[in-house]
Amino acid sequence: MGEIVFKNICKSFGETKVIEDLNLTIRDGEFTVLVGASGCGKTTLLRMIAGIGPATSGELYIDGEEISDVPPGKRGIAMVFQNYAIYPTMTVKGNIEFGLKNRKIPKAERETLIAEVAETVGLTPYLKRKPSELSGGQRQRVALARAMVKKPKVFLLDEPLSNLDAKLRVSMRTELIELHHRLKTTFVYVTHDQTEAMSMADTIVLMDRGKIQQMASPMEIYNDPNNVFTAQFIGTPPMNIQKMKDGKHQLGYRAEKVQLSETKPDLLYARKAVVLTREMLGSETIYKLQLEEADDGSGKTAVMAKTPNLMFEVDSRVYIGVDRKDLYYFDEEGRRLRGDGISPSLEKMTAEGGES
């Protein structure tokens, strides 16, 4: 069990408000990923759950129990810190054992637990080493092992893979997901890498400047963003967002949905463009294109397109088109318009945009 509920949580450091009136429920047993740009308050949230950086006001529940007064060690959580924070003067074994010793777990039991966890993370040959004699990846594993051995009901992981090389990172990702499947406990995982968030999460919590922008499954957050921020944060390249003719509403479409053709396509959204750059990735090609005139009349503007079609040369003239169902509309404040919010006049503006 390990459901975490934030209720009207605020946090300030002195005068600066970092988090204002946050409400959030992290579901039990799920792999929740907190994602957001650097400095948006992800670590701050984790530290609140851990009890080492208490909220300024508001209530925090784990399993329905208000835990503001529960000391960090008694909350049933384990945390992997952004910079590992492994004890430099203890051996790997000492590091893993420290928490167990403090909990007065008998020696024989400790030995089995340590052997077990060391085997899982592949540290068995290094148990006698000091942290200074380990590679970055191995230190990361020590930090993980130290958290795992406590068998917590909530795992807090603060960018645990950020210091690893690309290959090791991918394999550690898989290992963490497997670990989650095996343990079925609550994981709260922090990252600023949206790919990592997309590939690992059951639920993504996307944050910006201390506010939650959207909380949803990776599929939903990609297909059905709530606002411009989410639409642009999730997905590579970010969603194309254009001001519309009225200068207020915004129109968005994903680079993956852009169709390129030599003749004008019969689609709701169709514009003339020039190819600026072409970047071939193998199965797909990313084009950067320039529209002669933005819809709101502000001049030249660039859009991205990602298609399997690689036949367009730089400087060639093409048509870009987007199907009606792949268009996203946002209001002035960047909020998504859905269903009835999309008036026929909006669609008319979309269709006319290029002509005038």
Partner: protein, 286 residues
Amino acid sequence: MYEYKKPNKKLLKVKKIVFAVISTFFKLLVCVIFAFPFLWMISTSFKTLYESLLYPPTLLPQNFTVDAYISLFEQVHLERYILNSLIILVSVTLLQVLIMVPAAYAFAKYNFKMKGVLFGAVMVAFMVPTQITFVSVFQMFSKMQLLDTLLPQIIPCICNAFGIFLLRQNFMQIPEELLESARLDEAGELKIMLKIMLPMSKSTLVTIMLLSMIGTWNSYFWPLVMTLHDSVRPITIAIQSLRNLEGGLEWPIIMAGNVILVLPVLILFFLASKKIIEAMAYRGVK
């Protein structure tokens, strides 16, 4: 055209050798200048009284003898003073550590009321020389009727302000996450201090202890004014009083006493020198 001039390799080599010779010579010279008094002291301590008065003096003892050392213990009973010194040394060192470590931890990692003022008081204590405070301390002990015991030689020295300052600086460099991590591991504050902070500051602590131990072992002025009777006096005062033996200035005995006085300091220094250099050197590795 740009031409690359080959450096004259031979000339470079000669220069290097000349430099090495000169620098080694000077280093040796400095060594001799510093070591000579020590060697002279040791040599004299093994001479007979007669030989020690010869002119011109002999460099090494002609008739090697340990008589001086024997009379130190048989006539002067140096062992009593050594015992006093050891009691003072051990108590002062232990009490200092006992006070210094928690104080430094609190100053480094806690926020509490009056922290600035209290730390200011520590810094003042560190800067005011003992000669200024000794009159009032003397009066205090005199009122408590504790003069002429070991206590006034121990109690005023148990707060090592310099040590608190140095150790605090060291503790402050330890990242907060380590302590938080330990708290998540259910470690109490005492455990954090002993198992995490102290091992990470071992070399600094050893240096502080060593400096304070040398200071305590060598202290002369304070015990002299606080005591009257030989039974509670430390070795330093005994060595000084060797000048007033009945037989006049017996150089071998005085020198033997001094050898015994500096020997523990030298041994300590050699044992701990690696740690001291570690503590003083810039630490680039985390």
